[in-house]
Symmetry: C2
Subunit: 365 residues, 2 copies
């Protein structure tokens, strides 16, 4: 059947033909020429002057998988190390939907009001990537993205948690050397990465929503115990009462927890990221925390502990991967597991056999 | 001055001279001759018949540090394995002073009322031993110690947590083969051993006291999240109200926790171990738990997971110890730590150098 619009007698709604879809690539754009890679010394010089382009390029090298890039990156990091450490490192976590991006936008602007600089990094290993990858879209921090004193960098896109954590820690060194005295490390509170973030920051902030039911199911067990502060978002309008109730509940729950190693009693505050209510109070809490841990010596002790932790964690991870990636070992492990699950061998006897093989086998290499 | 009692004119209180202190060793006791070691086959036969003496001797071999004893022990365990697994394994923890021994005495008698058998084991690595070592004194479970269907065994006395955990898990196998259908594994909730106990039991019970203050400081962070049930002791007399209040507080705190993998919502009950109030209700809760995890398949899944866990945990521990006990590696680690703490090398670069040395060094062996 012919289309009725073409019939001159048709007097119903008509659809204009419209214009052709534009090409998906701008035909007037020329591919920008890649600038030659600056030397390590040039990069270090630029970073120490706070040159944001140089910082970005160095971070790109840190994240690169090419080994020549890595060699330069290591040199740059090593030279930046003596200039690093002078920042407040703050971890921020919360389930998707808690309003992390809007909150960081508001928090960040508040911090920058008093001067200083802010770098926002993220840990979001590909293995844990969820719908709405964090920081995948810088524009979700609209105002911060335009601020000259803010440096926003999405999570390194590829790799294991260990790899991503290493890159983020190295990026912190570069940012600090470039004069960023506030570092936010964002993570989505549903996977393994919170422990990693917790082990590289001074203060760990958990963003929650009001409500005691399903909203909490997404948060991994154990995260609440890591928090130095819990802030309940969307405490505005109709939701204010619910937020205050959640605050009271979290406060009494935290009282049941044993004291943290820092000696600090985690605080629970309400705020509204969208309406920018309660933001200064959150920063006051963080100020109090830093004054507290500076005074009791925990700050220094924890930074040293974290450096030690990452050294040993890296070693342990490498030892495990060199063992578990050996194809012969894999075969022995599968056999062992089979016997253990069939109740024909204890877990310990099976482990012993695989280890015996490994220690004999590797000596023959 | 002479003692006034010897003066005939003295008419104050007098102290009788009393009898001499008895010798600390019974002079009539003869050192019992050591029975010859039964063969593995004899032991297995005895254990399967429920012979408590044979069971004790096999457990002693499991705990022995002598390698010939261990060889026999492994043979016995392997032959008992197919007869193991048919028990409820219950972990019990709580700070010193929470009344664990009295509670286990009461719990145990209640369980045995309906027939069956009960083994009470403990994990208390020497590295964590506290004042009033748990089960160090059997007589603290006065009635259970005399019960013919109860087998009480203190913690293996020497060794690391890994070693003690292995011995306890192997002892569970032997007890199950000997027909013990209820296994309690006790631990003191202040160290690292709760994770180990949690990884070898089906149900994890946390004994608490009323009060929201200092009593809780002793409990390690994270333990509350492991608990399948929290029971508040000393809910009697004047303390009843405080215990009920604590119950309400723990209940609302647990609601803030994310759901456990089992799907089970941990319950909070009050009881009195000393006055034996509320004990049947605790067992009803445990019954409900087992019905729940049998129905949803979690019981089987978790047992398999635990077997796998212990196999991999043993391997990881051995790999780490073979690395960290190497004197050359120790020297390199100390150097690396020094550079890292002086901010002259990143944690990752230091780790890389130690690993490079290890992987080259070990190939030369």
């Amino acid at each position: 059947m012919e289309h009725p619009e073409n019939d001159p007698r048709y007097n119903g709604l008509t659809v204009n033909p419209g214009v052709a879809a534009p090409p998906s690539v701008n035909p007037y754009m020329q591919r920008r020429k890649r600038k030659p890679l600056p030397s390590a010394a040039e990069m270090v010089e630029g970073i120490l002057k706070g040159d944001i382009t140089m910082l970005s390029r160095a971070v790109t090298l840190v994240e690169s998988l090419a080994s020549d890039h890595n060699a330069i990156a290591q040199e740059v990091i090593e030279k930046c190390l003596p200039h690093s450490g002078h920042s407040r490192r703050i971890g921020i976590t919360g389930v998707p939907g808690a309003g992390k991006s809007t909150s960081i936008d508001s928090f960040g602007l508040h911090v920058l009001k008093n001067g200083g600089k802010l770098a926002v990094l993220a840990i979001d290993p590909s293995s844990e990537r969820t719908r709405g990858s964090i920081l995948g879209d810088k524009t979700r921090m609209e105002r911060l993205a335009l601020h000259p004193s803010a440096f926003i960098r999405p999570s390194p896109s590829a790799g294991s948690l260990g790899g991503v954590a290493r890159k983020t820690r190295e990026t912190i060194v570069l940012c600090e050397a470039a004069g960023y005295n506030n570092i936010f490390v964002e993570t989505v509170g549903v996977g393994q990465s919170e422990t990693a973030v917790h082990s590289m920051v001074d203060f760990f902030l958990l963003i929650q929503l009001a409500g005691t039911g399903d909203e909490l199911q997404g948060i991994k067990r154990g995260i609440m115990e890591m928090a130095d502060g819990i802030v309940i978002n969307k405490a505005d309008g109709d939701n204010l009462e619910r937020a205050r109730l959640a605050q009271a509940q979290f406060r009494s729950a935290l009282r049941l927890f044993p004291k943290a190693a820092s000696g600090w009693d985690p605080e629970v505050l309400t705020y509204s990221g969208y309406f920018e209510l309660g933001i200064p109070e959150i920063w006051d809490m963080i100020d109090r925390y830093f004054a507290f841990v500076d005074a009791n010596g925990y700050f220094e002790r924890r930074r040293a502990e974290q450096s030690r932790y990452w050294m040993y964690e890296t070693i342990n991870e490498q030892l495990r991967s060199s063992f578990y990636n050996d194809p012969e070992i894999k075969r022995h492990l599968a056999e062992g597991e089979h016997l253990v699950l069939a109740n024909r061998q204890t877990s310990f006897a099976a482990a012993r056999q695989v280890l015996d093989f490994y220690f004999n086998h590797r000596q023959k290499i």
